[in-house]
Symmetry: C2
Subunit: 615 residues, 2 copies
């Protein structure tokens, strides 16, 4: 089939965007902005569409690399920086968040407070520009440009020609600046602030940049391509809110109703639209409608919303698939290989040990089902392991809930463990803050489930009649393979056993080696690892057990490394001696093979049981 | 530890709501509505809070079972019914969707069109009431009441006293009715329409009802407790949009900015708030602010938004965890037990078989990563299995994408299978529509992965040198357990084999029975099932293989049923005869035990490999 694959398969999403581009390109309505000569130079046929997912997948079609000035799309971006610099409260004192039916360039201030109605009209944007921190006008604009570059994931530049043109013709905006100064919504000389505003509007971007900037807002302020934070997560909702209600000039209600994607347009023809948590959209087409929105830009957003079901109020439900897996210590055990008796005990005792593997983003609605399920079964619970390996993020609300769960279960003397949580520093910080002095004892974490399971199992097995001291030393009569041998038979086999001692850390078996012997452990513990994966223990053996018998039996090369975890004493039996037993003492060999079969049967039953956990 | 559990553990969410209730109960600001005497009778201290997740978990505190009239909260519910009856376009001709700064009861119609600005002000709500289908006023109100009851999940009733009171004093609303008639926004006599409006406002609900109604909107229109649809999913976004921008009278921008939860209040003190896909909130407290919103109702929404990070624009990201598991046919195989040679072949050939297990809600943003990953590896792919067992829902956009993926891969002669998709009828419908005549051949589904994997494996193995015809008949010399026996040894063992034949469907082994024999299959196939789980096949055996040896070896009772899938011929060997072999012919028994060990070793290695898929 390879001969068909000369041309790579094109994603249906790419196909869809190309069709959409073709369809919307036929729409020649609207006029290129002409209020400054530089904008009038734009080719009215330029048309690019770029869709970027919150995971960083980029789809683009048309003139997505053509540079143009960002214009009013700078407003929400600068508003975010102003929020970071001043907080929500101080920012709201200078600029409101109410939609207005007035034109974008009206000098419309709230009659009572003198506040511009919102940061998306020019008056509000100029007041916002005045909130940017920095010692000099130059350092303030430098911060703005750096922020924009973080959003776009590349170094953006000022278009000097457009800036000069804006500045030369910007009397109306200067008037707004003075009006704001009059109402104390600007401090000091308004001139540098209006210049800053002209500059922020004159930053040069491409349609692709807009798509990535939008995706950064969709991704909680983190650019999904660079992984760098452009806006603190807590302010993303504020920026999107003003875009949602005031972004497309008039028509706040209709835009949200029909398109349902918070968006901002600019007079150079750009549109940036954000579906939180999902995708970012950039469109560029310079022909504008009478309100100053790109005609094709609006059309593209409408079509995307309709055909891809992308409406804000139609987002996929969350919360029903946070629990990826739930099992008990009776169904699934650590890789610490237990004796037959211990295994039987765990099949009973393990029921009080519950493991929940969580996934996705932990927020209130996604964490609630976990609490509900754990608490409903809490009476029968003694150990809880929360495996966060597949959790992508956690917010404060989810952190609170997990802390409360921990505190409640501990108050009932139930043990709680978190595994795989190094990638979620917020959880540790919140636990530290809330648990205070109790933190070290209460927030118990393990790098993986295996070690956490082992600890719980050891607690469960500790007081059973099969429990053994860690100093337990097995004699050949205790080796499970020799279980059915008579004393006389043991005396025959004993001379074939070659004692070996290994220091802790010694590699007893190396993956890839030929298998010429089986080992019987008399003292200490050995661990099994795949080469190069020393953090993940495949098995742990205790005195009385044999190891290395799989390759011994089927003649395959050793498949894993086996390492002495403590100082170890063991006996080895060579394949040659074992084979010779068939001739010299068949009854002994039969008993040994029967025990090996039994042992393998037990292991296979356990593996099958564990596989059924994942069904 | 059971002695501590006399009192059940209370959820931290319940704790949080109780604290919140206590805190907000201290706020005695606002006045009970008095414009009709019935409302003035409310106890100003009544206060209930109810939070219901989109999954149907209910948390409630305070006076959540106190009945009161729904008042303006009826507006979005009736608007949804009007959309179902008339579609979006016809509805928009009668009522706009723009927020207005006017008071809720103003007679404010758009000067151009005569349309009420939005359905949340009285004029818009009365125009909406006029859009409800039905032959008589009584049948129209019956439909309204039935719809409300579907939302609440119980039979709601009209409060006749409040209705009469509303009707007697409702001159302003009657004036609005006539004004609407004047602008042709109402047809026929406006009187029955205003009466309908008075009635819809006088439906009696509890705070708990509001929570459940809100959760119904959060759950795409399906009541999460009853599972019944109250509003068609496609109109939920429209209802939430008008709530989002026009729901809380004035302050559209600030509400979305500060609280970010679409909401609607009523003058009896109710508030219904919806976080799409996540939770519904009902609050009841009769003291109102000057705008007619419940003071504590607003406070509760603000606190929930702040403390639980519930802002609309701060929803947990989707799309990054749609792929729950991905493995190839080299890592994981069907339960059709293969010979050693076939297994070795599959470890190579199986690489072209990819299985993706998906989870959660499939929409554009959650399906895109699947397409991206599959297409990136498409050149090396021959068989694709999409396992939808854990997919909770699929929307049209995702259906389109999956259809395009299927069409593209089929055009390259790659086979695509869907498993576990009976719970997603939309997928089948869309495939049927889009594939047309090709449907039956192209949309191939299997009830589970096992059968799909088996089919692909059989294709892969078909032309290998180890492939066997389905009519293959094994002789004792072919039984893998006798592989190492000489002809002379075979002659010794043969008389111990007791031939048996079974008709297709016969249960050869029953779970729970004592195990006194092992079977060797000479012709046909047998399947292994757990009792009561006949849809899920644990294993399938072919001629030459043995079955029933685990219990035979370890003496445990049979753990599963084994059923003849075709007419079957096999040989059985009793445990007694096998044991006696140790005395009479130890060399034969050793060879057989060695083969059993080898067989078990192979199965254990396979199980361990498959377990590692789930790591």
């Amino acid at each position: 089939m390879k001969n068909n694959s000369a041309s790579a398969l094109v994603s249906p999403i790419q196909d869809f965007l190309e069709e959409l581009h073709h369809k919307c390109a036929a729409d020649n309505g609207g006029q290129v902005a002409t209020y400054i000569p530089e904008l009038a130079k734009a080719d009215p046929d330029w048309f690019g569409v770029c869709l970027v997912t919150a995971n960083g997948a980029v789809y683009e079609v048309g003139d997505t690399r053509q540079e143009f000035t960002i214009q009013s799309i700078s407003k929400p971006i600068v508003y975010g920086l102003a929020l970071e610099d001043n907080g929500r409260k101080a920012t709201l004192e200078k600029v409101g968040v109410e939609p207005t039916g007035d034109a974008f360039n009206s000098i419309s201030l709230d009659p009572g407070s003198g506040r511009p109605r919102n940061p998306m009209i020019n008056a509000g944007a100029i007041a916002t520009a005045g909130l940017i921190a920095g010692k000099t006008p130059a350092s303030r604009f430098k911060r703005v440009l750096e922020t924009f570059s973080l959003y776009a994931g590349r170094e953006l530049k000022l278009d000097e020609t457009v800036y000069r043109s804006e500045s030369e013709t910007g009397h109306r905006n200067r008037a707004i600046g003075h009006m704001l100064r009059n109402f104390d919504k600007l401090e000091g000389d308004p001139a540098p602030v209006t210049e800053m505003y002209f500059k922020q509007c004159s930053i040069s971007v491409t349609c692709r940049d807009l798509g990535i900037m939008a995706a950064t807002l969709a991704n909680h302020g983190i650019n999904p391509l660079t992984g760098r934070q452009a806006l603190r997560g807590e302010y993303v909702e504020s920026v999107l809110s003003v875009m949602g209600t005031c972004g497309m000039y008039d028509y706040a209600g209709e835009w949200l109703y029909n398109v349902g994607i918070p968006a901002k347009s600019g007079v150079a023809g750009g549109v940036l639209a954000v579906l939180p948590g999902q995708i970012g959209i950039g469109v560029f087409s310079p022909r504008l409608d009478p309100l100053g929105n790109s005609v094709r830009g609006i059309r593209v957003c409408q079509e995307l919303s309709r055909h891809l079901d992308l409406h804000l109020f139609n987002s996929p439900a969350t919360g029903q698939s946070t629990i990826r897996l739930n099992f008990t210590g009776a169904d699934f055990n650590s890789n610490h290989v237990r004796t037959k008796e211990e295994s039987a005990d765990l099949r009973e005792l393990g029921k009080v040990l519950q493991v929940y593997q969580l996934q996705g983003h932990l927020a209130f609605a996604t964490t609630e089902p976990v609490l509900r399920e754990v608490l409903a079964a809490a009476d029968d619970l003694q150990f809880l392991i929360l495996d966060l390996k597949r959790v992508l993020s956690i917010n404060e609300s989810a952190g609170h809930l997990l802390h409360s769960l921990l505190a409640k279960l501990r108050a009932r003397h139930k043990a709680v463990f978190f595994t795989h949580c190094d990638h979620l520093p917020l959880l540790r910080r919140m636990m530290k803050k809330k648990l205070g002095e109790k933190f070290a004892g209460a927030f118990v974490t393990y790098p993986d489930n295996d070690l956490a399971l082992e600890w719980c199992e050891s607690c469960l097995l500790e007081h059973t009649r099969h429990s053994r001291a860690s100093s337990y030393r097995a004699k050949p009569a205790d080796y499970h393979i020799f279980k059915e041998l008579t004393e006389a038979e043991l005396k025959i086999i004993q001379p074939l056993l070659q004692p070996r001692t290994f220091k802790a850390g010694h590699k007893i078996i190396s993956a890839g080696d030929a298998a010429r012997e089986v080992f019987f452990l008399s003292r200490g513990n050995v661990n099994v690892y795949l080469p190069g994966e020393e953090r993940h223990r495949l098995a742990r053996f205790s005195p009385g057990m044999s190891f290395g018998e799989l390759a011994f039996l089927d003649g395959a090369p050793r498949s894993a490394n086996i390492v002495a975890d403590t100082d170890v004493e063991c006996d080895l039996l060579t394949l040659a001696d074992f084979q010779a037993l068939g001739e010299s003492h068949p009854a002994i060999k039969i008993k040994m093979l029967e025990q090996l079969c039994l042992d393998l049967t037990g292991k296979l039953r356990k593996a099958n049981r564990e596989l059924s956990v994942f069904e």
